[in-house]
Symmetry: C2
Subunit: 299 residues, 2 copies
């Protein structure tokens, strides 16, 4: 089954487009889980990340359709961190979760094929269902990812308009009457449309990352890329709201997944939850935050 069909089905089953970011940060992990571990002991830190992430999956798997491990945090711990990542992906699949790897990879043609073969599809080394991809190197650097995604029933999400304040440095520049992010969006739409039509589906295997911090652009980009899934980061901690992400969805409530990382996985540290959860009740805090975000988005 194509990535798009699987994603739609999973969202319908779990009744939510919430995408939980799995971003282990040592200092934010509940203290009792990292007690006695020196932050410079990479093997120890990797073990903490593994435990924390697997327990997190146990809490959220029944409530959401998909997760987004941020590769940077696992890479930060070295080879043992990569072992932990492999375990997280495998366990997520056991629990029936769709795994979108946030690596923002890109390179020239034959090397891009290497990345795509590494991360995308059941028979790849890492077995991701999808991967985020950066477009600076141009179309012949993204096409290999598209090809592998289509072949392996996986997906990619190309960075279009990111949620950070400095994203505009290149993305908002105007060339030939269009911003750079619109140029990228048009390439994504063209590629997604070709795939969607060939499969007789509404959306293609190629989606776009569009930040929740710019609601107007979210609406504009939904219209501009009718065949692309939108991965929307920036909800919660970065300021995105349920009202703001509404334009990302189609009339059936599909077409977008809304990411929240810190606001869910480290919910026990949220200011608006102050006094509600102790350190050891972090899993209850996670569950509360997920259910709250589901309710917000469904209202």
């Amino acid at each position: 089954m194509t990535f798009s069909s699987r994603l739609s089905a999973a969202i319908r089953t779990k009744k939510t487009p919430v995408l939980v970011g799995v971003d282990p940060r040592f200092n934010m992990i509940p203290e009792y889980l990292r007690k006695g571990v020196d932050p410079k002991d990479l093997k120890g830190v990797a073990a903490v990340y593994r435990t924390f992430s697997l327990r997190l999956l146990d809490v959220i798997a029944q409530h959401v359709a998909c997760i987004k491990p941020q590769l940077a945090f696992f890479e930060a711990v070295g080879p043992r961190g990569m072992d932990a990542l492999a375990d997280v992906i495998a366990y997520a699949h056991q629990l029936g979760l769709i795994v979108i790897l946030d690596g923002k990879r890109n390179d020239i043609g034959s090397t891009a094929e290497g990345y795509a073969a590494a991360y995308l599809g059941e028979n790849s080394a890492w077995g991701g269902d999808a991967l985020t991809v950066s477009p600076y190197l141009g179309e012949d650097s993204v096409q290999p990812f598209v090809n592998v995604a289509e072949k392996n029933d996986a997906g990619i999400f190309v960075l279009v308009k990111t949620s950070n304040p400095g994203g505009g440095m290149l993305q908002d520049l105007v060339a030939d009457g269009k911003t750079i992010y619109q140029h990228t969006a048009d390439w994504v739409e063209k590629t997604a449309k070709t795939f969607a039509e060939a499969q007789g589906e509404k959306y293609g295997a190629v989606g776009a990352v569009v930040g929740a911090t710019y609601p107007d652009q979210l609406a504009e980009l939904r219209q501009r890329m009718p065949h692309a899934w939108l991965l929307v980061p920036g909800f919660g901690a970065q300021g995105g709201t349920a009202e703001g992400v509404k334009p990302a969805f189609d009339s059936e409530g599909l077409g977008a997944i809304i990411n929240n990382s810190r606001g869910i996985i480290f919910a026990h540290t949220r200011k608006d939850y102050a006094g509600r959860f102790t350190d050891t009740q972090w899993e209850e805090a996670v569950e509360t935050a997920v259910l709250e975000m589901k309710a917000q988005l469904n209202s």
Copy 2:
């Protein structure tokens, strides 16, 4: 000692700006080194990559100053590939080589810090001397890499103008009277200059990736970024020549490193070497190719 000083000193000692790309590709590795290993056996492939890469380093270490492992090929083999990468980096350092990790990483602020902390500097998990970075997410996504590089005496190379044919899709668009790659170049120069002046050095910790396949732009970008080291890919297999890369250097022959990957590490398969080296003589082929490239660049 700063990255720039170490790089200058190493280039002077080895009398060459040749940067050898360590890009293990299973099907191009001499057959006797991969005999009996199933390409789908990731543990087996990782062991082959490790053996091949370490023997490669034994051959080139006396001749060149720096290497550039391409992370994609190690990641493609999964966690055991990352172990092989860690071994390659450690062994290269034992041999006194400078290690530039080609990962083209990037993300928003706090995650970019994660990548930077992972890859840059002696005390990082991977211990790279430098890392390649993609600029699509803008200045606040690159600055964390700059900060860590400066703190840890490491360097970064920002993608400015890449060597692939499709690189122009975004890079060559013109906004506010400048191409996108010029916008990126101006940011790199500004950042490199600040660092160089603070250190009283000619070049900063922030360099630029500029493809050898566009000699005119190489000359233009050398002028535009007088404080930035240039990492020049595209020599050899992709069509770049010694004549074409000349404009990348300053009057002392410094300021640029010229990458060659396949043309050196898989020299035994080069058409212009046909009949000269058997499969088991691949190390002689590597040495021949390195010395030839050194001579070409020094003439």
